[in-house]
Symmetry: C2
Subunit: 154 residues, 2 copies
DNA sequence: ATCATTGCAAACTGTTTGCATCAAG
DNA sequence: CTTGATGCAAACAGTTTGCAATGAT
């Protein structure tokens, strides 16, 4: 058998993907953590778990999984891809010091926030855009970096 | 003389940078357009203007200019860096079809929009973050892509 | 004379692809 | 038996760096 976790097998086959060992390990890792891994970090995490994998296999499967909508893909502020298991629309709170991020919902009157042209001469074109939604990236400092900064300045 | 546009020279020297030809051309391009160029696109635009430049010089100066705060740098959804001349805090409206983006301000009660944990077990950690602000990426379809889509479906 | 800038070429990182091997349906 | 998955190695794209030549102060 290729995958010993039934709920993972089902999640894959429901999207038309075969439940291969590599896919089960990737999805298992993402479901058990709430991390937003880069491919390199994922490779290391899988190696630590005793589930090593070739980097080509990882990239190939990350592409398949995200195209199928089983996992989410996005690009971090440093330009490297990151993946998570949360496919519902959500936002991120990013640490401006270390780059770590957590999943958040946006609470409040977000729907009332609308775009407005910065340059007057662009206002005409802006009015003809069809606005469909927004992604919010909250920026802050995580607890660990707050402590680190306090220690350094003391 | 290295730079024949006084307002550009001043903008550079005010930030402690020498007004070299390469910097004047880069800043001139960004000020005259409201584009969000990748380095490659900028190289092409400069070449078209008859102001060619080595790719290394371009990267070196983009780094200096953005570190000095003369221009803004960010990473697009495709993972490649983009630069603009707007250094005041602002947001972007991105076309989900072609990727083109325009600068916008966020009008509305954005300050009342706050992060909320997606996973209950993360709520404790979230409370200890220091939230400093947010970046909004409005997503939509630009006029040109709307027209293109209408033509295709007709 | 000194120090910064330019630009070529080489190095490097993140990512994708060709291809041979292997396993599943 | 046919199709898809794996993984090595090579190719690639975007970016950075070492270094020699050039130009500014």
């Amino acid at each position: 058998m290729a995958c010993d976790r039934p709920e993972i097998t089902e999640r894959l086959t429901a999207h038309g993907l075969r439940a291969t060992p590599a896919r089960c390990r990737i999805l298992g890792l993402l479901l058990e953590t709430h991390e937003h891994y880069t491919p390199e970090e994922m490779l290391e995490a899988l190696r630590t778990r005793g589930e090593p994998m070739s980097i080509a296999t990882l990239y190939q499967n990350l592409a398949k999984l995200s195209e199928a909508g089983v996992i989410g893909r996005f690009v971090g502020p440093d330009g490297v891809s990151r993946y998570d298991a949360v496919t519902d629309p959500h936002h991120h709170l990013v640490c401006e010091v270390c780059g770590r991020m957590v999943d958040v919902r946006a609470a409040g009157p977000l729907a009332e926030v609308v775009p407005q042209a910065v340059f007057p001469e662009d206002a005409g074109e802006l009015a003809r855009w069809q606005v469909k939604g927004h992604k919010v990236e909250f920026v802050g400092v995580c607890p660990a970096c707050q402590a680190r900064l306090r220690a350094r300045s003391a």
